[in-house]
């Protein structure tokens, strides 16, 4: 394993056998996943519900044994050194994991104690995190009374109280309102800046886009694409400029005119608008406007479109992540 890698999997597989009406059904939840996560990055694992994200995470956090394959986490062998790995990783499950019969302070102290921290030190760390995540006003109330956002803050604090090298967050912002989500994105970025590697799963495109340095897209238990957000988008997506005009004749004329320029890769007419595909749309936007102005075209609208991760997903899987649109 290279020095900069904190996590690496080779052909990681998980199959479940379920019985239905006496016949055995083999479910391949994860079909040979290869992942590489570098130290210090925010790595995203993007995919729809049921794609195998949580199952992969359960394997990487030593909760379930892989059916096949190898993995190294924090430099240790997942199959042989699970016990040691647990000292160095943090995990916040989708459900959260806080003890609702205790308050935030008690929760945090116990979690620290389970990592072998002394009573005094555990209380100090609990206080620090209560301060940091602004939990003071509710820290001494039972966790069962917390709002979604408050509970999520406690969950995150529990996941990092022992200063793990890498923290796994399973759908960290699912079910939160936009404000809380923005708060969490900021906090996750801060934790990351302080040196903790973050591995998060999500089915929110915005989350993957805003938060992650690199990501892998998983669908039906298989990785369909891996790379930085920009690289993934560039790989499939062409940027485009969409120009709206009043008459179809104007559009045809503009099309002929702009077709002469080499940087316009492709173009087509869609109703009363002209769609131009080009490599770097932003760079050529002004130039195109000047050309059209010189020839006295009257523009009604102009828009610049960049490929989204959804386009990437659509291209790789044939389905959209947004509300199950088909290609």
């Amino acid at each position: 394993m290279s020095k900069n890698l904190i996590l690496q999997t080779k052909n990681l597989k998980k199959t479940f056998i379920t019985k239905k009406q006496k016949s055995k059904i083999i479910v391949e939840a994860v079909k040979g996943v290869n992942l590489e996560v570098f130290k210090g990055e925010i790595f995203g694992f993007l995919g729809p519900n049921g794609a195998g994200k949580t199952t992969t995470l359960n394997m990487l956090t030593t909760l379930t044994q892989p059916t096949e394959g190898d993995a190294k986490v924090v430099g240790l062998d997942l199959l042989k050194d699970a016990k040691q790995i647990r000292h160095h990783i943090g995990y916040v499950s989708q459900a959260g994991g806080s003890d609702v019969s205790a308050n935030a302070f008690e929760n945090l102290v116990m979690q620290a104690r389970l990592f072998g921290v002394s009573k005094v030190e555990a209380a100090n760390r609990a206080d620090e995190l209560i301060e940091r995540f602004q939990m003071k006003e509710f820290a001494l109330r039972l966790a069962s009374s917390y709002s979604g956002g408050q509970k999520r803050r406690l969950d995150l604090a529990l996941g990092i109280i022992h200063n793990p090298d890498i923290v796994f967050l399973d759908e960290p912002t699912t079910g939160l309102d936009p404000q809380s989500r923005a708060y969490f994105w900021d906090e996750i970025k801060k934790i990351n800046k302080e040196g903790m590697t973050i591995f998060l799963t999500t089915h929110y495109l915005e989350e993957a886009d805003q938060l992650c340095d690199r990501l892998s897209i998983i669908d039906h238990g298989e990785i369909v694409a891996t790379g930085t957000n920009d690289a993934l988008k560039k790989e499939i997506g062409r940027e485009s400029i969409i120009i709206g005009m009043e008459s179809i004749t104007d559009i045809q004329k503009a099309k002929d005119l702009l077709g002469k320029f080499a940087y316009v890769n492709d173009q087509y007419v869609d109703n009363l608008s002209l769609v131009l595909y080009l490599e770097e749309a932003e760079k050529h936007l002004f130039e195109i406007l000047q050309i059209l102005d010189k020839e006295n075209f009257t523009l009604q609208t102009i828009a610049l479109a960049k490929p989204s991760l959804d386009d990437v997903f659509l291209q790789k899987t044939g389905r959209s992540l947004r509300e199950g649109k088909e290609k």
């Binding site: 359960n58 030593t62 990783i89 806080s98 019969s101 389970l114 072998g116």
Partner: protein
């Protein structure tokens, strides 16, 4: 060392949780109801000569203690919500051993159960029960073994089903025949032959017979040995399976 400290931390947390909710007091009320509302019915069971309440207690209280031990099959009802909140998964990803997690759960269950058993015995004493200290001490060891193995079994079922309805169905299916076939409510010696034979394949039959012998001061009876042997096998078997199922738990 780390294990013992972890068991301690988790055990204290479990105790706090148990006594924070008022439900444990209702658990205490149940054996009292059995003593006050059921035991008097047994008065005329011996035919013309009515039994004294002390005599009845000597037969009935041991069975009652065993039944309460078996009731630990319901332990999972407090455990399944902890799986659902992700709390158990959090422990499983921490350096705490699976053995420590299971031990702290079972120990906590034994505290609640032990308190119930003490209350029951105490009230029975007031009603006239007489038993030797050794007999009572050995009985308590035996029923704690029952309580521990049944709570372990309950956790295994909980991890398997992960929902209360499934647990309730399975536990009730086990509970009723086990109770009826152990001679808990009445001695199996009153039963017809075929029922006696059937009772002999019920492991708890031996436990009930053993506790009755202990209450009478017959420590050397074969049934005492059989009762302990069965329950020692149970505790080893079920706690082993319980730790294993935590290891393979999917969340």
């Amino acid at each position: 060392m780390k294990n013992i400290q972890d068991i301690q931390i988790l055990f204290i947390r479990n105790l706090k949780k148990t006594f924070k909710s008022p439900w444990w007091m209702i658990g205490l009320a149940q054996p009292i109801l059995y003593l006050l509302l059921y035991m008097p019915l047994l008065k005329n069971i011996g035919g013309t000569a009515a039994l004294s309440i002390a005599q009845i207690a000597q037969i009935f209280v041991p069975g009652m203690l065993v039944i309460m031990g078996i009731s630990n099959l319901f332990a999972g009802f407090g455990f399944i919500p902890e799986i659902r909140t992700g709390y158990i998964a959090r422990l499983l990803v921490s350096p705490v051993s699976r053995t420590a997690i299971m031990a702290s759960l079972i120990l906590n269950q034994l505290v609640s159960f032990g308190m119930q058993a003490i209350v029951l015995t105490f009230i029975a004493f007031i009603l006239g029960l007489r038993v030797t200290f050794l007999g009572l001490a050995l009985t308590f060891i035996l029923i704690l073994l029952i309580g521990a193995s049944m709570s372990a079994l309950s956790y295994v079922i909980s991890i398997g089903t992960k929902n209360e309805t499934g647990l309730a169905t399975i536990v009730n299916t086990i509970y009723l025949p086990v109770m009826l076939l152990s001679g808990i409510l009445l001695p199996i010696s009153l039963a017809p032959d075929w029922l006696k034979k059937l009772a002999h394949i019920n492991p708890f039959y031996y436990a009930v017979e053993a506790t009755r012998s202990l209450f009478l001061g017959h420590y050397g009876d074969r049934v005492v040995l059989e009762g302990f042997a069965v329950m020692i096998v149970f505790i080893i078997l079920f706690s082993w399976i319980a730790v294993r199922s935590l290891k393979n738990m999917t969340t």
